[in-house]
Amino acid sequence: MTPLAGYLLVAALVFAIGLAGALTRRNAILVLIGIELMLNAANLNLVAFWRYGPHPEALTGMMFAVFSIAVAAAEAAVGLGLVIAIYRHARTADLDEINRMKG
């Protein structure tokens, strides 16, 4: 059996990649992808801890992960809606241009 740490490491790696993308990509869609990646990394963590935890046969871990996926999907939809709204207003999806809240 692969040790737990391996799954956690992979999840951490994916999370880091997602974070990096969310923080540095110019395009708004790519930021959304990065956020998706982070969410999926968290899901991975959840599933790993479910299988290597005290009750691997119960379905609680899987339900948790399914909920998370559903929420991620909803949130992606909302995010896309936001991006479209911003595009309609600012004619660009480049996040560096969107600085109307500049103080």
């Binding site: 969107i98 109307r100 103080g103």
Partner: protein, 681 residues
């Protein structure tokens, strides 16, 4: 008796109300003034009747008919000593009240007509009413302090009324002169008051034995010696007399009275003939116990001697000047000064009754003469120079008749006119005086001059041809009616002063007079004296008629007497140079002193103030320097730093979502690190 204070209070309240009226309301102000004084007249009548009643009652029970009722109250308290004020009702106050209110009321009514064309009608009645109230206050006062306060108000209103037409420089100057001259006398008066208070501890006249004019206090004052061989009583009496000298225009301080003719004629009649100038005489009568303190039977005191001589000299001095004056009112003004001298001499020679009788009769006929002169002036279209009048007898018959009555009363034409009886009483006292006959001869000479100058005036004004421009017209009834009433009293008052029935004298000396009939004239020397004074008067009138009667000298021609004795005439016309003397000495000194004070003020004190201001300026400059450079600089720097800090902080707000996310992520990492390492360690 407790209501006696209403008599002066009503006119003063009326004056106050008139003063507060917003727009000039002629009928209301005249009405208020006349109504208030009428009430005062009624109350005075009541008081007078009360005194007579009380006297009759006392006589009925066989007592001495001496009436004196006082009401006192405490005004100020200093520790244990107090200052008390109050009022008194005795025969002296009663007759004076009657005279002031009655003559005052007649003059008020006259003023309604005389001042009808004046635009300051309301102000006139306000001041007139204030004057009447204050004068009545002087009359009823039982405290020397209250008397002095009302005395000063009387002086104030005199100033206001003399300078009524203040736009005229001569009127303003005359008002100032009157006020300052009387003030000069008042300085001595005040000294007397202070001394009296210091010696006796009270300023009340009568206070059930404790008053300053009652035997206890007088005796104490007699014992206290003062300078120049006088006792304190004599010295205080003379100081108080000095106040009277100023107010009543006696010799050294008479200069203001003729100039006071700048005021309207009703003012001249009321204030400078009948009442205010009589206040001085009344004052001497009031404090008479001080004047007679220590008198031995058959002798006289220093105070009385001084009063007599001052009075007699004033009588002659002013009569001389009156001979050579050409302004109708000025002749009457000098006549008033002269008659006041008679009154003072009467007080000194014969006592309160003699002086006061002449005061009362004089008030009536002098007011009559002044109001008559006002009528003449009014009718002659404001002409005042007698040389430009003449023949007024034909145009103003009523005025002529009443004026003639007044003139004959003033001259002292025998039997019918009150002036004869009052002046004769004075001459009689002078003849009987123990300290010499000087005053007697002076007063007789004065009577001659009086007859002479009055005849001169009447001839110039009423006889001959009219030398004026337009024809004069008779005055309206509102002016001639008071004249007629005054004329009646100028005759009728004689009745109470004849030797046949000396009611007035008995009233004021707390005795009883019986109707003596013709027998009372058999007193030795009395008839001779009456004959002598009558002859003097008739001689004076005759001489005047001879020189002036029915002739019509033009203004440019020299006067008949001037042709006879030019240098004497010039001296008399120039008022015997008294004003010039004062101008050269006192006024000159005053101006020099004023220049010195001005120099001191501008150079010395002003210099000190300027130096201090310069120092202040320096200090202010220093403060400004520090403020601008240090305080402002520090403050500005601080603000700049804050601004810079704010700018830096603002840069965090880039508006870019990813920057915010980065910061967030950084924060989370740091938190996690802290959590992990803290749980480990």
């Amino acid at each position: 008796m407790r209501w006696l204070w209403l008599i002066p209070a009503l006119p003063i309240v009326a004056s106050g109300i008139i003063a507060l009226l917003k727009q000039p309301r002629r009928r209301l102000s005249a009405g208020l003034a006349i109504a208030a004084l009428s009430f005062s007249l009624l109350l005075s009548l009541a008081a007078f009747a009360h005194v007579i009643d009380t006297r009759a009652l006392l006589l009925h029970f066989g007592f001495n008919p001496a009436v004196r009722e006082t009401v006192d109250f405490t005004w100020l308290t200093f520790g244990t000593s107090t200052v008390q004020l109050g009022w008194v009702l005795d025969p002296l106050a009663a007759v004076m009240l009657m005279m002031v209110t009655f003559v005052g009321l007649l003059i008020f009514i006259y003023s309604v007509g005389y001042m009808a064309h004046d635009e300051n009608y309301t102000r006139f009645f306000c001041f007139l009413s204030l004057f009447a109230g204050a004068m009545l206050g002087v009359v009823i006062s039982n405290s020397l302090l209250l008397l002095f306060m009302c005395w000063e108000i009387v002086g104030l209103t005199s100033y206001l009324l003399i300078g009524f037409w203040y736009q005229k420089p001569s009127a303003a100057a005359a008002a100032k002169k009157a006020f300052i001259t009387t003030r000069f006398g008042d300085v001595f008066f005040l000294l007397g008051i202070v001394w009296l208070f210091a010696q006796t501890g009270t300023l009340l006249f009568y206070n059930q034995g404790a008053g300053s004019l009652e035997p206890l206090a007088i005796g104490m004052l007699l014992q206290t010696p003062a300078k120049l061989g006088l006792s304190a009583a004599g010295a205080i009496g003379l100081l108080i007399f000095a106040g009277a000298v100023g107010k009543s225009g006696q010799l050294p301080l008479h200069v203001w009275l003729p100039d006071a003719m700048e005021g309207p004629t009703p003012v001249s009649a009321l204030i400078h003939a009948a009442t205010m100038v009589a206040a001085g005489v009344y004052l001497v009568a009031r404090v008479y116990p001080l004047m007679t303190a220590g008198v031995l039977p058959g002798g006289t005191t220093t105070s009385l001697t001084v009063i007599t001589w001052v009075g007699a000299s004033t009588a002659v001095f002013a009569a001389l000047i009156a001979v050579a004056q050409n302004d109708i009112k000025r002749i009457l003004a000098y006549s008033t000064v002269s008659q006041l001298g008679y009154m003072m001499a009467g007080l000194g020679l014969g006592g309160v009754a003699v002086g006061m009788f002449h005061l009362i009769t004089h008030a009536f006929f002098k007011a009559l003469l002044f109001l008559g002169a006002g009528s003449v002036i009014h009718g002659s279209h404001e002409e005042q120079d007698v040389r430009n009048m003449g023949g007024i007898r034909k145009y103003m018959p009523v005025t002529f008749v009443v004026y003639a009555v007044g003139m004959l009363a003033l001259c002292g034409v025998p039997i019918f006119f009150s002036g004869f009886w009052s002046k004769d009483a004075i001459l009689e006292s002078a003849h009987k005086w123990h300290a010499g006959q000087g005053p007697f001869y002076l007063l007789v000479f004065g009577a001659l001059l009086t007859a002479f100058y009055m005849t001169r005036q009447v001839s110039y004004v009423f006889f001959g041809d009219n030398r004026g421009h337009d024809h004069p017209h008779e005055s309206p009834r509102v002016m001639t009616a008071p004249l007629a009433i005054l004329a009646f009293f100028a005759i009728a008052l004689g009745v109470v002063g004849t030797p046949a029935w000396p009611w007035f004298r008995s009233f004021l000396t707390d005795t009883h007079a019986n109707f003596g009939g013709l027998d009372s004239f058999k007193e030795p020397g009395l008839l001779t004296l009456m004959l002598l004074s009558s002859m003097v008067v008739l001689f004076g009138i005759g001489l005047g008629w001879m020189l002036y009667g029915n002739k019509s000298p033009r203004a440019e021609e020299p006067d008949a007497l001037e042709k006879a004795i030019p240098p004497v005439w010039r001296a008399l016309r120039d008022r015997l140079y008294v004003d010039e003397l004062y101008g050269a000495t006192i006024i000159a000194f005053y101006y020099w002193w004023a220049r010195v004070a001005d120099w001191l003020d501008r150079r010395v004190w002003g210099g000190i103030v300027a130096a201090i201001m310069w120092l202040f300026g320096l200090w202010a400059q220093l403060n400004r320097f520090i403020d601008m450079n240090f305080v402002d600089g520090a403050f500005d720097k601080g603000c700049e730093e804050l601004s810079g800090g704010g700018g830096l902080m603002a840069r965090v707000q880039s508006g870019r979502v990813q920057n915010y996310l980065r910061l967030l992520a950084l924060g989370v990492v740091i938190l996690a690190a802290i959590l992990i390492w803290s749980s480990h360690g």
